[in-house]
Symmetry: C2
Subunit: 333 residues, 2 copies
């Protein structure tokens, strides 16, 4: 048994490149007391990973040079030195981009593979589901009848935000890139309307599809789309800052949202959040998400790619909009 | 008795110019049933006036071309056709830039000239006091020990925000332009520290004076200072958007705050407000402000200029930072 690890060896400038990482082969370590050895099955590829590669203050410490690249994942316990886990348990946690991970037992959570296939535990029942849930419900605070606008609507978080907003009685408008994604958002996910940012004037389309203004804009992208949403904000509108995929690879300081004074005129609120802050409330959220899932009320799609060595190039798919649904890297053959 | 009115006749592009206004002389009108004739004593000159001159959707309707320029003021009732007011009463309200104003009685509020000189009723006990009060306390929600950063700290709103924050147990850092204003903020108003934006690197000075980060930034100016404050935001920091004097006269779309993602990293909130929304709570606020005033806890300074015809040029003093304290136009000789 050989471990394969993807380590960060250079801080990327702009888009991460293959040589920012090293593929390192070595022995599989033994778990010490309180630890568990996990065979990694699937890893979550997330835009936030780009931020973790940067030096400097952020909401989590950067991945150190020479360290295994941080990644959330699900896998199976194959050796345990902690009474809370036994061989054969399925677990999720920050496993890292590697085939075998030794983790502190206290950092792992058991997952039920009967509830949903393993990749879904990185999506609806994982961090993206939790991000959509707390960002929309706690930060956005939707009221029935309100208009919710979601960018990256075909993406992992956006697709769930829109569906949860529908469950809460909102009118939901999505923004996505290209005909295929737009059809998915409208026809499969059941959004009320969708805007194709590649082929439409987004600012104008928002005004058309949100005639009473935007009560909640759930922002996954930043850039010009954030600015257009601000311009269309309704009275007491809220902008939920979840991400800014449009600027994560920027090498120059990105432009700020020049329409921010719409927040003043409309008594609006723009607020950021980090899902990790809601850790204590994960169980309640997972329970509600699982209920919706069982009831068939939350559609989800995972885009599964495979091969741990392909990590650097697969990650870029997110920034190029090449994934449809939650991007998951299959590690085990 | 002749009325003198300053009417808006052109929509200014950039800074308002003298010929955007017309000085019109004419008869003094008679109040009809339910109305009151007010002799205007003092008018409040406010940065917000610039916004009222623009066409288009905002939080109040624009001043129409050919209409008397909107202005808050205080004056004396000289004729009344409403039982709620008698000749000799002092009142405040939206009197307009004119010597004599006919107003609906329901739009006026009695003021007590024994509580404070009339100009103070346009400041501490008027709209600027209310703006500072609700913006800081309701939107910013300061906690004892927090660090509050205030721009335009020598200005009408900023000077009160800082003093109220001190009354609430906060550490208060002001930003002002020039040695005289900075001395006023530090030595007379009792701020803990002051930054001279004309002579210091504001971003660096904020980090020096707010070593634990900025819990509340009360923004009166926008522009680069907003961006610097965002960069120094503390965890769960709040940005209260009160105004953006730096950009009100902009003829091109201003740059947005490029550090807005600090709101995401720090789970921050940026929120706008309009004092008029708090109308029902004015009495409680005025009562508390009056108490502080009587106790000598709120210092205030009015910068009084005179001559109604000088309105256009006096207004520009605000944008040039030429006033020290609340700018008030004395109308009556």
């Amino acid at each position: 048994m050989e471990n394969v690890q993807v380590k960060l060896v250079k801080r990327p400038i702009g888009e991460p490149k293959a040589d920012d990482f090293a593929i390192v082969r070595g022995p599989v370590p033994e778990p010490q007391a309180g630890q568990v050895l996990v065979e990694v099955h699937y890893l979550s590829l997330d835009p936030a990973m780009r931020g973790w590669m940067n030096e400097g203050k952020s909401y989590v410490k950067p991945v150190g040079l020479g360290e295994v690249m941080r990644a959330l994942g699900v896998g199976r316990v194959i050796a345990s030195a902690d009474p809370r886990f036994t061989v054969g348990d399925y677990v999720s946690g920050t496993l890292g981009v590697q085939k075998y991970a030794v983790c502190d037992a206290s950092d792992l959570t058991k997952v039920d593979p009967n509830l949903a296939p393993l990749p879904a535990h990185l999506h609806v029942l994982g961090m993206t589901g939790l991000t959509a849930y707390f960002g929309l419900l706690d930060v956005g605070r939707p009221q029935p009848g309100e208009t919710v606008l979601v960018s990256a609507a075909a993406g992992a978080v956006g697709s769930l935000v829109g569906q949860i907003a529908k469950l809460k009685g909102c009118r939901v408008v999505g923004i996505a890139g290209g005909a295929q994604k737009c059809a998915y958002v409208r026809d499969e996910l059941g959004f009320d309307a969708v805007i194709d940012y590649r082929h439409e004037d987004v600012a104008r389309a928002i005004k058309t599809h949100c005639p009473k203004g935007v009560d909640i804009y759930f922002d996954n992208v930043g850039g010009e789309i954030l600015d257009a949403a601000l311009a269309a904000l309704a009275l007491r509108g809220r902008v939920v800052l979840c991400g800014a995929i449009a600027v994560y690879n920027a090498t120059e300081k990105p432009a700020g949202p020049s329409n921010y004074l719409s927040l003043l005129i409309n008594r609006g609120r723009m607020e950021g959040f980090i899902v990790f802050d809601y850790r204590e409330r994960y169980p309640e959220a997972i329970a509600e998400l699982a209920t919706w899932l069982r009831q068939g009320k939350l559609k989800h799609r995972e885009h599964i790619v495979s091969g741990i060595e392909t990590f650097p190039e697969r990650l870029l798919m997110l920034f190029r909009g090449e994934n449809l649904g939650k991007l998951v890297l299959q590690v085990i053959e």
